[in-house]
Symmetry: C2
Subunit: 409 residues, 2 copies
Amino acid sequence: MPLTRADCERLDEADLLGGLRESFAVPERLIYLDGNSLGIMPRQAANRAAMVLKEWEEHLVGGWNDAGWWDLPITLGDKIARLLGAAPGTMVVTDNTTSNLFKVINAAIARDASGDIVAATTSFPSDLYVAADIAARHGRRLRLVGRDAESLTELLEQPVAVVVIEHVDFRTGALADMKAVTSHIHDRGALVIWDLSHSAGVVPVELAACGADFAVGCTYKYLNGGPGSPAYVYVAPHLITEATQPIPGWLGHAEPFRMEPDYRPSSTIRRFLTGTPSIVAMRVLESSIDLFDGIDISAVRAKSAALTDLFIRLVDERSPEAEVVSPRQAAMRGSQVSLRHQDGRAITRDLIAAGVRGDFRAPDLLRFGFAPLYLRFTDVWDAVDVLATVLDQRSASASNAEDDWHAPT
Amino acid sequence: MPLTRADCERLDEADLLGGLRESFAVPERLIYLDGNSLGIMPRQAANRAAMVLKEWEEHLVGGWNDAGWWDLPITLGDKIARLLGAAPGTMVVTDNTTSNLFKVINAAIARDASGDIVAATTSFPSDLYVAADIAARHGRRLRLVGRDAESLTELLEQPVAVVVIEHVDFRTGALADMKAVTSHIHDRGALVIWDLSHSAGVVPVELAACGADFAVGCTYKYLNGGPGSPAYVYVAPHLITEATQPIPGWLGHAEPFRMEPDYRPSSTIRRFLTGTPSIVAMRVLESSIDLFDGIDISAVRAKSAALTDLFIRLVDERSPEAEVVSPRQAAMRGSQVSLRHQDGRAITRDLIAAGVRGDFRAPDLLRFGFAPLYLRFTDVWDAVDVLATVLDQRSASASNAEDDWHAPT
């Protein structure tokens, strides 16, 4: 028996995370399925923005000590580390994802005289740009491979220094098995860098337990840190004291206020800091990270699986002409479902006009992200309802257009 | 005849920039002479912070187009360019000063196969760290030289690719002659990178007229952008299309939304962008940059010279035991006066306790920054009054301590 909207209402009533929606400034009359691109603003962001301005006004330069600004990249890093299965002192909030990836690829290849750099073909383009440029500058080969186990096995038959791979494919939402892939790469003597941009905050991540070497990621997707909010970088504990990165700034110095002419890197994760970071941006980000306090990330994951399962089922029932590109097994995907349709761009535009915000990736992918902290099961129902209407209207007008074409008048 | 406080009151009354103080959240009962480290908050920062959160709330991911976020590094760069004598399209706001310096040193040495990297010994340590690391990684020699014309001439007798130099020395406040130094360096076939951190917003800077090749700088000092506010990078128009930088991110791509696997740099200054920048931090910074609208920077410079002249004169009159280290000619210094005293650290602490905020740089420098947008001539008077009292008390207690020491009791 097909699902009904009433079924979805019952799911919302039973949803233990449902109350969190109130913590977000969810717009009325919009079903927002683009939290995989930019998360919705937590309501307390406004208080934190006001707070950091108050800190600036009252403490002035003294805020670096008195308001905890100096340690904020570390203290905020520790909060994110908790969400990502990493130990305190292994993560800092700093710079952007691209710059952090730049640092850790360089740190990784410094440990291996000649091995290749490998990246998944599916990587976010910025990751590929950095990997290719570093390879070219260091006389390394960059090899691009598929994310499947077979491709990974094949690639590792030649010497590899480091593999860069996204935990969740930003196009299809496919989720990699971090533990198995990491272990596979380690077996061949290479290091792995995980890009967590599309999994942090919505998939349980266990960096330490999986033995990941490095990780980077952004905070403006499911972590809801705001447009362009600062990124993070993770370095496994045993690598920290020997890892070097190529942008040695005063924030990474062992004793920055001695103002020494020579760089001596901090023996801690601080060495991955560069210059002075934006405190305002970090305070606003902190408001969204603090929202995760007391939230069980496995409950978030369970709701994410249920929302995406529901979306796929409803699309299959009501809009079968849109091909589901994402893995159909919830365990194999992140919190995103991508559909393929040759008119994807126009359909995305029509959906937005009708109050359903997803996005489009050329040539034919419609992407829908499902943020469990603020989305309801009825939102999924209503979104597919709109999608079905949009697709019906398109095929109706296409038929009409065809009629017109053949009509002599 | 010695100056009186009444004289200073008259100077304040005649000050055409005096009204600007109202635009800043100047703390009561504090004379803040540390604007060379972190400027005071412009009152409209609160509105801008609220505005950008409103943009986030209402536009969500659409804000990248609809709220102008995508172009903000450029539009804000253009506003700062106007203050620094640079043409529109030659400056972007992005990352931090250290990272931007890293980019432009790399861009500079890519144009010269083997020349040395030269930096002033007086450079801010972070600048030296980056220069030294790049030199080591590229097999270049790093040579450190004095800022005087003689040292510069000498150094240029051997092949040089690029010279990194601060416009204003962060320790002494000494101001370099940008036009003469640039021309001197160009005569020897080298490029020059100016660090404007301590001159932007308080000294007229003419990047284009001086023929500067590259410039970087922070925005949280005399530009009052807030703690860790984003930095800027300038590239001379004729260098933009051929300059390459080593952190190629998607924001610098010619067509970022095509999500191509290969990097094709934008033909514009955008190529100096890396990953996604903090929009919240940039909006807050924009509020302080907009304050300069309609302000004549030469009037700011004139007031700066008058404030620092006054400070030096009063120190000479009332606290001659503190040696003025900064150039005594206003034309030769930025908006900062540094004093030398062997007890500098303790004196700085005493001054802060007494409501005068300067800072200390080891081993013996007391630094005082004079931000003409919010400081009054009477502030200078009162600050020296406190300084004289602090120094008098110290020598009195030192005498007492000496008495105690020699006293048998």
